[in-house]
Amino acid sequence: MKLVWWLATVFGISAFSIFLSNAGATDPVQNLTLTVNSPLQGALRDIASPIHDAFLGITDRGGLRHENEQLKDEVEQLRNQLASQQDAQQRVLDLEAALGLKQSRPEDKLLAADVIAEEPSGLKRSIAINRGLNDGLDEGMIVLSRSGSVVGTVSHVYKDFAWIRLLTDVDSAINAQVNIATVPPANTNVITPGAPGPQASATPAPSAAPAEPQTVRAVAKGDQRDGLLLDLLPSDAPIVAGDLVVTSGLGGNFPRGLLLGSIHNVDERPQAPFKSAIIDPAATLTGLDTVLVLVSFKPARLTGP
């Protein structure tokens, strides 16, 4: 009987506390706890991180060497791309200035924050950072990795701290697009229609045809099984592994062109109106130590009526 009363009491108090928490009434207590805990948590993370790295280095040495070689090749390719894009970027800026156009993202103002905690249960995927309302953060603001790809959004903000919902959380959904550069094959012959078979005139296709960028829009959703899933892709979209996925800007909650990741695997089902694809997030979402909050961009949900 005592146990029943105890259970009823715990249930009643817990239900009331959950209600108060959802209403934000317990935020000061949780902010205070994070203030007290953050030095200890920071010290524990500082201890655990190198141990984890050392353990990975021992257990995955061959994999790391292979990955290192791959990354070196990738860095070289990216440097080449960067060199050509810097020139193109400058030309865009000059043209925008000449035409008096308003730039979509004039100057990103970023606020660096340290990660102090990580949700351990696995039912939710979130991290806590040491920035909050006092630093100008608000719910819905975008959080980026140090290299500028999307990590998630601010889901709950206290006075000095905030919880970030990672893009792999099941509650996360981002309007995205895949930019596909479709280049016609260089050495194929174009068959002139209507000509009879043996006399068909074969015209060589131009070998240096310019790439025609094609955009496919979809929704990047967090998924418990796959991590990050690109859903609602048109069934005829020519998506292949390696294509880059960026934010589309639709809905106004994200600026356009922020990198989400690259296509890992496409799941096609015959006769289905849509297909889906698994995305490899560009940002490393485990063991994050520093993130950047995009404070200059106000999501539509914050600026709307």
Binding site: V10, S17, S21, Q30, G122, G287
Partner: protein, 173 residues
């Protein structure tokens, strides 16, 4: 005094749970040390103590993880009932009982947490969450159970020896 020790232990475990433990992944999940500690305490210590320690553990867990306050206290509450129902009174060791309480307690914790998330308006992928999080976590928590069972068992045995005299033979399990 013992509740102060429990409070400090729970505070340290809560801080470790969200800072150092996420680096440790077994079967894709992080062991829940707070749940294991609460379950072992419920099995090995008197029920009156468990009725205080288990909600404290839940509260500290919520304060560290940013979950709604009370969610973990609610999710840990079945541990006390499970401990009361599986405790084997005829033998000295409660090792099997602790294994059962940790594994079954993790399953009930998962169910309660998913219900709370769902009521709070958050999306829950019930099947995937059960298969990919709750079931592996039950196995991993059971694997890590001796880490807490042994010290709490020795602590309890030491207390019993203090009360009943040192000539009583007690099992380390």
């Amino acid at each position: 005094m013992k509740y102060v020790v429990v409070l400090l232990l729970a505070w340290f475990l809560a801080a470790a749970q969200v800072s150092a433990l996420p680096y440790l992944k077994v079967l894709g999940v992080t062991p829940d040390l707070m749940l294991i500690m609460a379950a072992c305490w419920a099995v090995l210590r008197p029920q009156d103590e468990a009725m205080i320690v288990v909600p404290i553990a839940g509260l500290m867990h919520d304060l560290a993880t940013g979950d709604p306050l009370g969610a973990s206290a609610l999710a840990f509450a079945p541990l006390v009932i499970l401990a009361a129902s599986v405790r084997i009174r005829a033998v000295e060791t409660q090792f099997i009982a602790a294994l059962v309480v940790v594994s079954a307690g993790t399953l009930t914790w998962g169910a309660v947490r998913m219900i709370v998330l769902s009521i709070s308006g958050q999306e829950v992928q019930w099947f995937q969450a059960t298969v990919r999080v709750v079931l592996p976590l039950a196995a991993v928590n059971t694997l890590f159970m001796p880490l807490f069972y042994m010290p709490i068992s020795w602590f309890s045995a030491g207390q019993r020896q203090g009360i009943m005299g040192s000539r009583r033979i007690t099992s380390p399990l």
